[in-house]
């Protein structure tokens, strides 16, 4: 079920009451696990066994890795779990992409192959819970900690409903102590958690769905008809939508967890105020970028094998990160472009301007704007359904491609102004922590802000749009 549905309101109210009414911590954990499975089954109960099976298998394999004394045996177990997890992910998410590209390769050789079409539904959240499980097994393999002996605790770590379907991708080290130590709702966690839920829903319902999505959809559904101003408004609208949609989900997840007494890691830290691309990836989808850094980039050798190999590892990490988002070349190109930006930035920092990297404020601001511009343009590859549409979208950003019109309708104006406001907030808050900052605000100010956001949510009715990251 989605956070922005009436069903979730009912579900969460019931969970909150029962969770706090139960006396023992073990009982409360069992209840949370069952609630998480109900939450997941609400989408498609047929995939619940896959979630339970995947978690159980990794729980068992992690224990086998830890129990194995010989490095060879440990390696075999970790390879097994990698093959199983990535195999399942590949089957559900990438089978059509792989078959289509295999057919295209054969076609180059003059061979005709028409792959069979399987009507396989992608289990929601599979990319996220697979990464949860993999990080656990890899950390056990690396000897970072001992595996838990309790299946329920591990299953709860994987399936904890606030972060189950779209993250943040938590590590077991972040959750273990919280799962093993009794906790419950406090007055402060209830107040702050609900406030974060409202903030997340505001980002999702008011900004992403009402202000940005209609303009972005109109542009990308009919790129060929847009004049330059409309193309820019559509591109900015999608940049606003993707942030508000995903950060909105993460904020809701953090808020819902907090109400139950759990602290999830921050997933977004004002990314549109990033100064440079490495800074952007320290602020955007932090739990994924750190996952890719720790388990992919480092595993590939990171920066330990010379300059050239560092750049190769960087590119590979970003290309695979792009592919993680979706089974299409457009996502690979999106990841590849970010890899290029990161590599170019690293090269500049290390070779061209090593002494001047701590530049004056104005220059840093200029670089921040350049970062924002390139990030925004790169989103076109993320949103466009295919490469042809993406190229067409870029062409229409140039004046004169589809007439010289400059008129924007009110919806497009809202989107442009909305994006400017979101960006301004990011710059104002870029060095602040929201949770610390709110403590300094008087209760009436918080109350008025929450009241206005609540009213805006209520006054933003419409169809429920699935969170964009659900499809990943």
């Amino acid at each position: 079920m989605q956070f922005d549905s009436f069903t979730f309101v009912v579900f969460f109210a019931v969970v909150l009451c029962v969770y706090n009414a139960l006396r023992g911590w073990a009982a409360r954990k069992w209840f949370l696990l069952i609630a998480s499975y109900v939450f997941y089954a609400a989408w498609n109960p047929l995939f619940l066994p896959l979630l339970i099976g995947s978690a159980t298998l990794d729980f068992w394999i992690a224990r086998r890795i830890h129990a194995s004394a010989r490095p060879g045996a440990r390696k075999r177990w970790i390879v097994a779990t990698l093959l199983i997890n990535l195999g399942v992910l590949g089957l559900f998410k990438y089978h059509a992409f792989l078959l289509d590209n295999f057919a295209a390769l054969l076609a180059l050789a003059g061979l005709r192959y028409v792959p069979a079409r399987f009507d396989i539904v992608l289990p929601i959240g599979i990319s996220f819970y697979t990464f949860h499980s993999l990080s656990y097994c890899l950390d056990i393999y690396r000897g970072k900690f001992e595996p838990t002996r309790n299946w329920r605790d591990y299953a709860l770590y994987v399936a904890f409903f606030p972060q189950l379907v779209a993250g943040p991708i938590t590590r077991f080290t972040q959750m273990r102590e919280q799962i093993e130590t009794p906790r419950r709702t406090t007055r402060e966690s209830l107040g702050l958690g609900c406030a974060l839920l409202v903030l997340g829903l505001f980002e999702k319902c008011v900004l992403a769905d009402t202000v940005f999505a209609p303009v972005a959809d109109t542009f990308f559904n009919a790129v060929g008809t847009a004049h330059a101003a409309a193309a820019w408004s559509g591109t900015l609208a999608f940049s606003g939508q993707i942030f508000c949609d995903f950060a909105g989900y993460s904020t809701c997840a953090i808020g819902a967890a907090l109400v139950l007494g759990f602290t999830l890691p921050i997933n977004f830290r004002y990314p549109y105020a990033a100064i440079g691309f490495s800074d952007f990836w320290r602020r955007w989808h932090i739990s994924l970028s750190t996952w890719l850094r720790d388990y992919l980039y480092v595993s590939l050798g990171g920066n330990r094998r010379g300059a050239w190999r560092t750049y190769v590892n960087l590119m590979l990490t970003m290309l695979i990160g792009g592919l993680w988002h979706g089974a299409a070349w457009t996502f690979v190109i999106w990841g590849g472009l970010h890899g290029l930006f990161l590599a170019a930035e690293r090269f500049t920092r290390e070779r061209l301007l090593p002494a001047n990297w701590q530049a004056p404020a104005l220059l840093r601001f200029g670089y921040g704007l350049l970062t924002l511009l390139l990030v925004t343009l790169t989103w076109i590859w993320f949103r466009a359904p295919d490469a042809t549409t993406a190229w067409q979208a870029f062409a229409h950003l140039l004046p004169g491609t589809a007439g010289n019109g400059t008129d924007l309708d009110s919806g497009q104006m809202f989107a442009v102004v909305g994006f400017a406001l979101v960006t301004a907030v990011h710059w104002l808050m870029r060095d602040r922590d929201l949770l610390t900052w709110q403590q300094r605000l008087p209760a009436p100010v918080i109350g008025i802000a929450l009241g206005l956001m609540l009213a805006m949510i209520m006054l933003s009715p419409g169809d429920n749009h699935a969170f964009i990251y659900f499809q990943f």
Binding site: S5, R187, T210, G411, A443, P444, G447, A455, S460
Partner: protein, 340 residues
């Protein structure tokens, strides 16, 4: 964040309690003001039709007492037939409204034929235009939504949303903050909708709230535009394309059901245009001859059904809906297609 209640939680708790009391009071006040404003301007709450509402009805096809009677078609069915009234007149059946405004119905007929659990009767609106191959899939997105995305969770959401929409004007996006701001900036006001929907997806058109003559002209113009845009067609090809319907009707009949194709009443410009482009003797009559396994009924052949005034030549005013539904039920029974 502390993980258990402590004395130090009290000040923070009081701070949040104050903030939330203010927040809820402010949000309620703003929404109440907006609601009062729109109601004072003459607007009333209205349920909004959607794929979720359709899926909720589609689910009813397979559950509940009585023989399911699936009502398929487009606007003439959705705004003409009253399922509640039909149930009263035909207590043996459980009418389910699956017609979709501006969407021709064959995708839903195909889906019901493929549904092994469907053991009922289909009353499917017959309009020669809508049976062109190019229009078969118009309702397919609804069918796909039902089979791929519809869950008990969405069912509960939609029930609560329907209650909210039934009671609050501001539950309609036309009265949301963005639409209101747009009207404030650009002038104008929200459209005064003259169609009222019910949770069972039946709709009432109140022609007192609009100008029927201009609606009639609008429909006629739209129809001429649609006719001009139609793909090349001829009776032979049209009928040939419909061959798969034999299998659909057969599948429904094999499970003890039946299919009734019903041509709803049309008048004036609409009827003239349809007759000009799809002459009844070349299209509809050939279909009747080619599909002896189905039942056919044309409102124009039944004075009790064709006597109604259609303000826009195509749709029934809601005040005529009960009488029209009664006449339809009586005719279907009289012809032996349904029983009481």
């Amino acid at each position: 964040m502390r993980s258990s209640t402590s004395s130090s939680d009290a000040p923070a708790g009081r701070r949040w309690l104050g903030a939330w009391l203010l927040a809820v009071a402010l949000a309620v006040a703003i929404c109440a003001l907006a609601e009062a404003h729109w109601r004072a301007a003459g607007y009333r709450p209205n349920i909004l039709d959607s794929r979720q509402l359709w899926a909720q009805q589609r689910e009813r096809v397979d559950s509940g007492s009585g023989v399911p009677l699936a009502l398929l078609g487009a606007s003439r069915t959705e705004f003409g037939i009253d399922p509640k009234r039909l149930r009263e007149r035909l207590p043996k059946y459980r009418p389910v409204m699956l017609a979709v405004d501006a969407h021709y119905p064959l995708a839903t007929l195909r889906d019901l034929a493929a549904d092994e659990s469907f053991r009922g009767v289909v009353l499917c609106d017959l309009d020669a235009v809508g049976y062109l191959r190019v229009y078969w899939d118009m309702q397919q997105p609804y069918v796909d939504y039902f089979h791929k995305q519809w869950t008990p969770s969405w069912n509960l959401h939609r029930r609560l949303l329907t209650d909210w929409q039934r009671n609050a004007v501001i539950a309609n996006p036309a009265f949301g903050w963005k639409a209101s701001l747009t009207h404030a900036l650009e002038g104008g006001e929200p459209f005064h909708d003259y169609i009222r929907y019910y949770a069972n997806r039946s709709g009432d058109i109140d022609y007192r709230q609009t100008d029927p003559e201009s609606t009639k002209r609008h429909f006629a113009q739209t129809m001429e535009g649609n006719i001009a845009a139609l793909p090349p067609h001829d009776p032979q090809r049209w009928l040939g394309d419909l061959a798969p319907m034999h299998a659909w009707i057969g599948a429904i009949a094999a499970r003890g059901g039946s299919v009734i194709f019903y041509s709803s009443p049309v008048n004036g410009l609409q009827r003239d245009a349809l007759q000009r482009v799809f002459p009844r003797e070349q299209y509809r009559d050939r279909l009747v001859a080619a599909f002896p396994e189905a039942h056919f009924l044309d409102a124009l052949d039944v004075p009790a059904l064709s006597r109604f005034d259609l303000p826009d030549d195509s749709h029934m005013d809601y005040r005529d809906k009960p009488a029209y539904t009664d006449a339809l039920a009586a005719t279907l029974v009289e012809r032996g297609y349904l029983s009481r």
